[in-house]
Symmetry: D2
Subunit: 341 residues, 4 copies
């Protein structure tokens, strides 16, 4: 008995979630919905994903492009046990009524507001809270990256305070109209950025301040992180702790990976689909504990893919088909988590 999953929105996140769901032994993709015919729509069909028109008025455009449709999005919602909504920011909110109408539980992405949903989700941090939820939000790429790190530290040492500067990529690699071209922007210019409060949807009591910036790069976000720990420790011990986490990739010193470019090259060389880096990539050499309780490190977050395994886990969490440990292991195993291992 496989879980029947519908995916509404087949773009950067949606196409990756579709592949990841298909790779799970206990899941099946009922279909994917898209608004416009383009190479991604053709690829969906080429990959045997039944394609549904997200906007009924545009059915004709698919016909013209010679792309066969399986139906319209409402049918997909009806036929799915759960829907993963991977439409652009704000569209998920518009779609909520449709999911409610068909009584289909839905997952949303980080572009939606926290108060749209019953629960915000990160597998490592609060898996169990999503059970039975009608509307669940898989937190954004940045929040996912911070949560995974914080969860590990919180469990082991306790966390007094987190300060993080998020140096964000201006756009994804295929987004040809987004900038900036040659600029560095405080974004938002007010402090703290919205990322801190978003982490608080996962860790309600955490003391965290985040600062956001935007730069002309497409490959990853890069975080400089400072964590004040409750219990004392040292650099080597923290490093080992992080190396033991399945969704953290601690970059070995001798690899010569100096930034996002070589990181993605390594992922491509490793055969990762689309060169995806599902794990937080933490520079091993950067992990530094000062004075016993103050940790610093740099991590790269592959914005296009780190939320993908989280969506897979959220499906099981919502439907109650596995507990945290089982789900994470199953997802990891099916995807091939563990870069460089």
């Amino acid at each position: 008995m496989t879980i029947e999953v519908g995916i509404n929105g087949y773009g950067t996140i949606g196409k990756r979630v579709a592949d990841a769901v298909r790779a799970q032994p206990d899941m099946e993709v009922v279909g994917v919905a898209k608004t416009r015919p383009n190479f991604e729509a053709e690829q969906a069909v080429a990959n045997d994903f039944p394609l549904y028109a997200a906007v009924p008025e545009r059915v004709g455009q698919f016909d013209e492009a010679g792309i066969e449709l399986a139906g319209e999005v409402e049918e997909l919602v009806q036929d799915s046990e759960i829907v993963v909504d991977t439409t652009p920011s704000g569209i998920g909110a518009e779609n909520k009524a449709m999911y409610q109408e068909y009584d289909t539980p839905a997952l949303y992405q980080g572009g939606e507001d926290a108060d749209l949903v019953d629960v915000s989700f990160n597998a490592r941090s609060n898996f169990a809270e999503a059970e039975g939820a009608g509307h669940t939000r898989v937190v954004s790429c940045n929040t996912t990256g911070l949560s995974r790190l914080i969860a590990a530290l919180e469990d082991e040492y306790g966390v007094e305070k987190v300060r993080a500067t998020l140096v964000r990529r201006g756009g994804d690699p295929a987004q040809s109209s987004r900038g900036p071209i040659n600029d560095t922007l405080p974004d938002p210019v007010t402090i703290p950025s919205h990322h801190g409060p978003d982490v608080n949807t996962i860790f309600p009591d955490l003391d965290i301040d985040t600062l956001g910036m935007k730069v002309p790069a497409t490959l990853t976000h890069t975080h400089s992180v400072n964590v004040e720990l409750t219990d004392e420790t040292d650099t080597e011990t923290v490093r080992e702790l992080l190396e033991g986490e399945s969704r953290l990739f601690v970059i070995p010193d001798h690899m010569g990976i100096d930034g996002s470019g070589k990181l993605k090259e390594f992922a491509l060389d490793s055969g990762r689909p689309r060169g995806d880096v599902w794990e937080n990539a933490i520079w091993g050499e950067s992990i530094t504990v000062e004075g016993g309780d103050e940790l610093y490190l740099f991590q790269a977050i592959h914005q296009e893919s780190d939320v993908v395994p989280e969506n897979v886990d959220a499906i099981r969490a919502v439907l109650g088909t596995a507990d945290r440990r089982e789900s994470i292991e199953r997802t990891n195993e099916a995807l091939g988590m563990g870069l460089g291992r």
Copy 2:
């Protein structure tokens, strides 16, 4: 009886050639040589390519990094029927004596001078000329891209004159220290650029003028091409001709691929290893014949990979194990040439 191929230099081109050679039914990778241990070296070992130290003095560095070596590069040269030299520009010339010493025929890349070798090579254009050559140069990514296009046009219509502006990427995606960051440079500033004469190593009698520029992008070179044809034709006919060429990918209009970014996204979505685009990617909408005999078009050249199938063919060409048609078909079949087909 498979051809035993050694690969000296395991970087951007070398690692791709290694994978492509391994994919051929009639070839086998004896080993690869590298100068320094880094993630690429580790990956070579992870992929079961016997790894040889290119510089004997550095053997210790591999030991320290815990990377096992199969030997030193001279052994690799001795044990190979043919060596593909994919070392950085100018190093191939230094290595020539070693290949001569062991009487091993060698392929070099476009970074080497034309007069280093017996023959410059492009599979579509002059396959047969390489038979029995001791030293063969697979021409550069840009020259390969131009040659494939010119060969098709020359065969069908005759070519009076080619004018091309080559808007070149500043560096490959993982080359973190190359620029420019925010600049557009005539490069070289003198006209014609060296690319035209390089095309003449393949088409000695061709009248061709090229202009080179460099821009802050990493994904592809992009050519604006103007060709005066001998025989008259029209836009639709040329388009069909180009669509019929196995190493030209004519981008369909409705795909929504507006530049290098979406082109690479499409290649990644299509499951291409490393997102490689071995074919010239010609924008279908750009193909325009004016006045019956003047052709214009834009093409993107994926500098990291378009020479890869050419290296594979050059192996067979030099050793005389297949003729042009057979070799190209076998290479294409083994790699999965034909993006979007």
Copy 3:
């Protein structure tokens, strides 16, 4: 008796035109109109340009920001002998009725359609045609750059055909949201681009094909130009011809200016306001005549400023207060045209 000039739209082009008009002995700036209060609006006031609200509804926003207004745009139009409209593309068309209402002749910029106006204008090429025109369009930065070059060649040798590839900057330096970040785009993908027909508004009988591209750079457009000449000549003679043109800056070989970055650095070092390069910057080393009648060269076009002197001349051309030679000389003298002289 000075000419009273109003400037509607105080952005990249408008603020430069305002300064250039003010620098003319025979002109005066009546005022400038702007839609929103920001640093440019403050600067207008700091520079003693009477500031008018372009959108009556937003008067309050200026009040809140503490920026004093001289009135609303209609008053400015009424009080001006001529208006230079430097609003964003397409807004000029909306403003036309207002200029007609007050019977004020208007200049528009290259973002407007050619058929909005009575005449399209380039000082070097067709100065006299604008006399008495109600609605005149100063052609775009790219068309201005091509026209200046073509005019010189046409006068001296005759021009058979022009082919140009325009490698365009993605956005101006202060446009923080424009991309691309890491992409090279045929733009438009169809050939010829609209630039050729635009040049034909200045040279109606010229045979010209242009190809447009867009790259992640902000400093200049860069053109690779090919011109088939009617009469024969040689490299040195063409170079001298171009060096003799007052709005062409032939970059000397020994200056070490390798691209847009160093070009702008040179302009800044030379004390140019805002580092502006009003002239086409043609790389001297690139000027090449092949076979006696085929010219190639590279030129950089500083999109933010090359149309500025043309706007100044267009004012005199429309009002008939000077002939071409006089106007160009006066403008050049007042601005300090002649980089590196």
Copy 4:
């Protein structure tokens, strides 16, 4: 009696220091030394700065380029009361012996090691310490930017701890070969970066941790800064404090300056030579005090120019011709410090 200043190295920093020194009523530029003839050398001559050959062997190159020399660098050193060495990193150390030989006190730049000199210098922070020093280092652009901010906070509240992430530009605007093109790099990857210890050359007892990154932008460095203060305060009070500092430019909220691009545009619009921003540019909206004693803010540091006024002050500090207050006022007055005032 004006101070006779020689400037060795006429590049990004040197040419700015030359102009700034010339602008001082109590100083005079004896000459500038340069290694190679290029546009900057020509500009030095055009600006009537006597030009000296920095490398005797290259005198001929200047002759060939038709650039007149006033002599060789040793003569310049001999004829100067003080030399400002603005040669590339590491060359200053090589030049030290020459300055010692002629007993000429020297200023060096941030590219040199702290232990090359008697004292590291920042005008606001430790002016008096440089009096009589033979060898003085004006600290780097980043250290200057941090020191100015810290000095103001330290004087008013006391500083417990500083944590700063320095998002550094990859290269200056005219450095066409520096990258990265599309990458974000921890640089250095180890924590803390060298910037913290460099700040300690100015504030020996300060507790400061810095993290460095490198991005594909040329206009400014941008710092995200966190300061734990000793005494309690609030956002508005800190903002007023910073607004009162002559070399801090607190960007007003309503200006619409969202990043480095618009900041530089504003400086150019304001008529600043070369668009220089000598002040730290602190986003007013970003200034935030949390919990009474924890300050956050973003600041942009214009790497090409913030050290320029510091060099001017260091001249007076070393020679003892003015005290801190007098010197800073005189420098500010002569340059026109106070952007947006």
